[in-house]
Symmetry: C2
Subunit: 549 residues, 2 copies
C-alpha cells in the first residue's frame, strides 16, 4: 500500500490541487455558472474522529485485519457526491470496525467465518467507487470491510478462446497491464476505470466502453467464482448454455449479498487496429436522438455512440453550447471500419446532422486512456471527440473541486424504451430543474440557476440510457439534505415514468426505495430466499438490494 | 382445435406418410445405412390405454379442464426419440389426469389455485416439443397439463422501439403471421418453429435462427410476465438495466418451476432486405473449425455460420460426404452485406476453404421458411445451402419415419470453449460411436455400424456449440433402454470433458443427473429456496431442474 487513496474524494492523497489552483477554479466556476462560493478545506485525516471500533482485531491471523485509522476512514464511504461531501467535512458516520485484506480465497473464507462467529457484517470492497452507498454499511452492529485489492492478478490467459481468468481485486489499469503482455485487452472502461475492480464491476453490472452490444460487463463474463458462507459458487467456462437459468446472471449484479466474487473468466480481445471517430453536430435534440435510434436499429454496432446535449457539450468543452454533439466511434481488430462509419454518417446526415472530419486511426498500440502519471487524460491532438474524452475521464476528479468550491453536483442515469424517450427526458429534466432550484433556494431559470444537462451513454435497438448531470449552488453544511431532496424527486420521476433506477451504477442503499418499487415482487421474494439460504446470518453487505429476512 | 397434433410424433395427425411411402423409405434406409428393419405401425389413438384419471374434472369452470382421451394422450409426452418411440408403441406411462386450456391469465390463476387445493402438479405445456422430458411429470400424485396455446396473440406492437408484447402460447408461425402485418419479424427459428411457442422458448432458453449475437431467445426478451402461485412476476420494459440481478434472467430457463410465463415483450426487427449466403467446402475439419473461430472472433456477426462435418453434410444431402461444409449467411434490413460476406470468405479461403457461388438476395418479402401446407420446406432454387435448410426443417418429421423403420436416432448438443474444442469433439464422437455400437450390438465401424455426425450450430468468440447426430439399428421394443444407455454414456462424456449438458434444448428430466453435477451447488440451493418461496406446494413442473424441498 505505498500510495494511498484519498480518504474522502477521488484519486490519491497526493493528488490534491494547490490552494492557488483551487482559488482560480472557484473564480472560474462563479464566472461561468453564477454560483459557487469561496474555497473551503477538507478535514484532515488526522482530525477525523471515528466511532471507536466495536471489534477487537483478532491476533490469530497476522496482518489479515487492520484497525488502522486511515484504513477505517478510507473504507467508510463510497464516492457519491453525498459521500464525498461528508468525507470532505470529516463526517464518517459508519466506518467499518475493521478492514480485512485477504491475499487469497482461503483468507476470504477466514474473514467470513470469523465475522459470522462475531456477529459482524461483511462489506466486500473493491475500488470503493460506488456512487449509491454500496460500501457503507448503515447497520447497528459491527462491520468488517473486506478489501479485495490484493487479489489483483491475471491468473490464466487462453489466447485460443480469447478469455482470461482474473482475480476480483484487479483494477482496470492493473488487469490491462497484465493482459497487454499477451496482446489482449478487456476494453471495459467505466469512468471509474483507474480505481474500480473486476469484482466490483461484476457485482454492480458496471457499464463500460462499448455503447452497443457489450454495454455492461455482464456480457464479458464467461464464468464466475464466488465464496459464499455456504460454499464456493463456481460456474463452468462456457461460451453459451441453455442449462437452466444462468447461474452467472444471478451473481452478476448481486452487490455482495450472495457471496464474495473472487475471480472470473472474462472475454478479452485483441487490441483494435482499426478505429474511426467523429463528432456530429445537430441543431435539434430530437433529430439527434432519432439519428442515434436509427444507427442502433441498423445493426451497425458503433463502439461509441454518445449523444451530448448542447449544455453537456458545453460543460465538457466539446462544444460551445449552440449545438448537440454525437460522438461516434467504430473499432475493430480485424478489418477497416470506414464502411460502418460511412453508413452511420449517412444516417446522421439524413437527420440533419453535420459531421466533422472523421479521424481514422492507424495501429497505435494505445492500450487504454493516455495517462499523465496516474491520471487519465484526453488525447491531445485536438477536436471535439478528444475534448469530450478528456472531460469524461477527469469528471470524478473535478467533483472534489466542486465540493471544495461549494458547488453541488450529481448525476442520474437510467434507461427507457424509444417510444417513451422524448417525454421521459423532458419530464426528468424538468423535475431535476425544479427540485434542484427548490433544494438550493434559487430560481429554476436565469443566471445562477441550476445547470441540468443530458447525454446518452449507451444505446440499444429498443431504447437508450440517458445520463443527467446536475450542477447547482450548495448550501454549506446542508449538502446532504439538498442531495437527498433532489435524489428523491428525480428518482421518483424516473420510476414513475417507467425507467430503471439505474442503468449501470447499481442499487446500493441510496437507490433502494425506488428499486423496491421497480423490481417484480416475486423476484424480490426469490432473491431474499436465495440469500437466506446462502447467507443465513444475513451478514453479507446488509442493506443493499434487499433486507434479509 | 380443428386440426389435431399427432398424439405420438411430429406434426399433425393427418400428416402420416402412406404405407407405400414408408415401405420405400425403409428400403432406402437399409440400402444407405445397412440397418433398419421392416415398417411397423404405431398404436392407434383408440387403442392407447391410459391410466384412469385421478382427478375429477371440476364442473365449475366450463370447458377450462378436459379429461378427453386424445388430449390426455397428446399431452403425455414430449418429442425426444425416447418419447416418440414410446408413443409409437402406445406406452403413455405418465399421462396428465386433466388438461387445462386457459384463455387468459385469470384462468391460469384458476388452474393453479384449483390444482394446489387438489394437491395436483401443474405442467405448463406450449408446443409439447421438449426433447428432454420437460412436459412429462413422472410423479406419484395427480397432474394437470396446462396448455397455453389459446394465449396466442400479439397484444401490442411498438414500432418505434421495435418491440412487441406477445402471449406465451403463440407459435412461431402464429406470431410471425401477426407481426407481418406490421412489417416486423422476431426471426427466432428453432427447428421446432412450427409448433413451439414463445413461452416455451423463454422457459427453455431456446436457440434460434442466429448463429452469432442473439443465439438464444434470452437476448430477444425485453420483459417477461409470469403467474406464480404467490403473485404476478412482471418486469419493466427496459432496453438495459443494472438494477440488481436481472429478474428476467432468473425466469428465462426456469422451465416452469417458478411460475407460468404468460406473455413477454420481445425485440423484433424489420424484415431483412439484404441477404447473402454461401456454402464453403473444407477438406479438413480442423481447418474448417479454425475458420469458424476466426470469423466469430473477427466481429463479423454472420446470421448463419453452421459447420456440417462430411457425414452430416451427406446425411442432409447438402454434400456427398467428401468434404465438410460451412453454411455462411449474412442479413440486414439496413445495408448490403456483401462486404461482411467478403471478409468472412477471405478468412475461409485463408483456411483452405473453397466457397461456392455466394447468392445475394434482393428483397423477397419472405417471412419465414417456405411452407407447403403446414410443413416448412427448403427453397427450391437448388444448391447446398437450400438442401441443408430443407433437411434441417424436415428432420423432426423424418424421425417418425425412422421410428417406424426400426432406426434409432438421437441428437446431443452442447457448448465448449475453443481451447478444448478439438479434443472435446473427438472424445464425444468416439464415446457416442462405442456406446451406440454396444447398445445396438453391432461393431463400432464398418457396414451397418452407427452413423455419428457433428455440426456446429452456434458460434461465439470464445467457443462453439457442437451438435451430434446418432443413427443406429434399433432393437424393437428395447429402444428406450438403448436410448438410456447411449444418453448416459454421451452425457457423461460431455460433462466430464467440461461441456454443458445442453446448449439450447433445456434440462427437463432427462438431463438432470448431469445438470446436477454441472451447476454450482450454491446456485442449486438458491434456486431451490426461490422455488420454495414462490411455489411452496412444489406443484410447478416437479422433477425438472431441481427437486423441491
Amino acid at each position: 500500500m505505498e500510495r494511498r487513496l484519498k480518504h474522502w474524494g477521488w484519486g490519491y492523497e497526493d493528488q490534491a490541487p494547490s490552494a492557488t489552483q483551487l482559488r482560480e477554479a472557484a473564480e472560474g466556476i462563479r464566472a461561468r455558472f453564477g454560483f459557487g462560493g469561496e474555497v473551503e478545506k477538507p478535514v484532515h485525516l488526522e482530525e477525523v474522529e471515528l466511532r471507536a471500533s466495536r471489534l477487537k482485531k483478532p491476533s490469530a491471523f497476522g496482518d489479515l485485519f487492520s484497525d488502522d485509522h486511515y484504513e477505517r476512514t478510507a473504507h467508510a464511504l463510497g464516492k457519491a457526491y453525498r459521500d464525498v461531501v461528508r468525507g470532505f467535512y470529516g463526517r464518517f458516520e459508519n466506518p467499518p470496525d475493521l478492514v480485512a485484506f485477504p491475499k487469497d480465497e482461503s483468507e476470504i473464507e477466514v474473514v467470513l467465518g470469523w465475522a459470522e462467529a462475531e456477529g459482524a457484517a461483511v462489506v466486500p470492497f473493491g475500488g470503493g467507487t460506488s456512487v449509491c452507498g454500496g460500501v457503507e454499511a448503515r447497520v447497528e452492529g459491527p462491520v468488517v470491510s473486506l478489501d479485495l485489492r490484493q487479489l489483483d492478478r491475471v491468473l490464466d490467459v487462453d489466447p485460443t478462446s480469447l478469455a482470461a481468468r482474473i482475480q476480483a481485486g484487479a483494477t482496470g489499469p492493473g488487469l490491462e497491464d497484465q493482459l497487454r503482455a499477451h496482446g489482449l485487452t478487456l476494453r471495459h472502461f467505466p469512468q471509474s476505470f483507474e480505481y474500480s475492480t473486476l469484482g466490483g464491476w461484476i457485482a454492480t453490472r458496471a457499464g463500460g466502453h462499448f455503447a452497443t452490444l457489450e454495454t455492461h460487463v455482464d456480457d464479458l463474463v464467461e464464468s464466475v467464482r464466488a465464496i459464499t458462507p455456504r460454499g464456493t459458487w463456481e460456474s463452468r467456462r462456457l461460451p453459451g448454455s441453455g442449462a437452466g437459468p444462468s447461474p452467472d446472471r444471478l451473481l452478476i449484479g448481486s452487490e455482495g449479498v450472495l457471496g464474495v466474487i473472487a475471480e472470473a473468466w472474462v472475454r478479452v480481445r485483441p487490441r483494435p487496429e482499426f478505429k474511426a471517430s467523429v463528432g456530429v453536430e445537430f441543431g435539434d435534440f430530437g433529430e439527434a436522438a432519432a439519428a442515434v435510434r436509427a444507427i442502433s436499429q441498423a445493426g451497425l454496432y458503433p463502439a461509441n455512440c454518445r449523444l451530448l446535449d448542447a449544455a453537456e457539450a458545453e460543460l465538457t468543452g466539446a462544444g460551445d453550447g449552440s449545438s448537440h454533439l454525437l460522438i461516434l466511434g467504430f473499432e475493430s481488430a480485424d478489418h477497416p471500419v470506414d464502411a460502418s462509419m460511412g453508413q452511420a454518417l449517412e444516417i446522421a446526415r439524413d437527420h440533419q446532422g453535420t459531421p466533422g472530419e472523421p479521424r481514422t486511426s492507424p495501429p497505435t498500440g494505445r492500450k487504454y486512456p493516455d495517462m499523465e502519471g496516474n491520471r487519465p487524460v484526453g488525447r491531445k491532438d485536438g477536436g471535439a471527440v478528444d475534448q469530450w474524452r478528456g472531460a469524461f475521464l477527469l469528471a470524478p476528479y473535478l467533483r472534489d473541486t466542486f465540493v471544495a468550491c461549494g458547488v453541488l453536483s450529481e448525476t442520474f442515469e437510467t434507461a427507457i424504451t424509444w417510444d417513451r424517450f422524448e417525454e421521459f427526458r423532458a419530464t426528468v429534466m424538468e423535475t431535476a430543474r425544479r427540485a434542484t432550484a427548490e433544494a438550493c433556494g434559487v430560481a429554476p431559470d436565469g443566471p445562477g440557476s441550476p445547470r441540468i444537462s443530458c447525454r446518452l451513454t449507451h444505446v440499444y435497438p429498443d431504447g437508450a440510457a440517458p445520463y443527467f448531470t446536475v450542477l447547482a449552488p450548495a448550501i454549506r453544511g446542508g449538502e446532504v439534505e439538498q442531495w437527498d431532496e433532489i435524489k428523491a424527486a428525480v428518482s421518483e420521476a424516473l420510476i414513475e415514468a417507467g425507467g430503471t433506477i439505474t442503468h449501470h451504477h447499481a442499487v446500493g442503499r441510496d437507490h433502494r426505495p425506488w428499486y423496491d418499487r421497480q423490481r417484480p415482487a416475486p423476484f424480490a421474494a426469490a432473491l431474499r430466499a436465495a440469500k437466506a439460504e446462502l447467507d443465513p446470518a444475513g451478514m453479507l453487505n446488509p442493506g443493499v438490494l434487499i433486507d434479509p429476512v
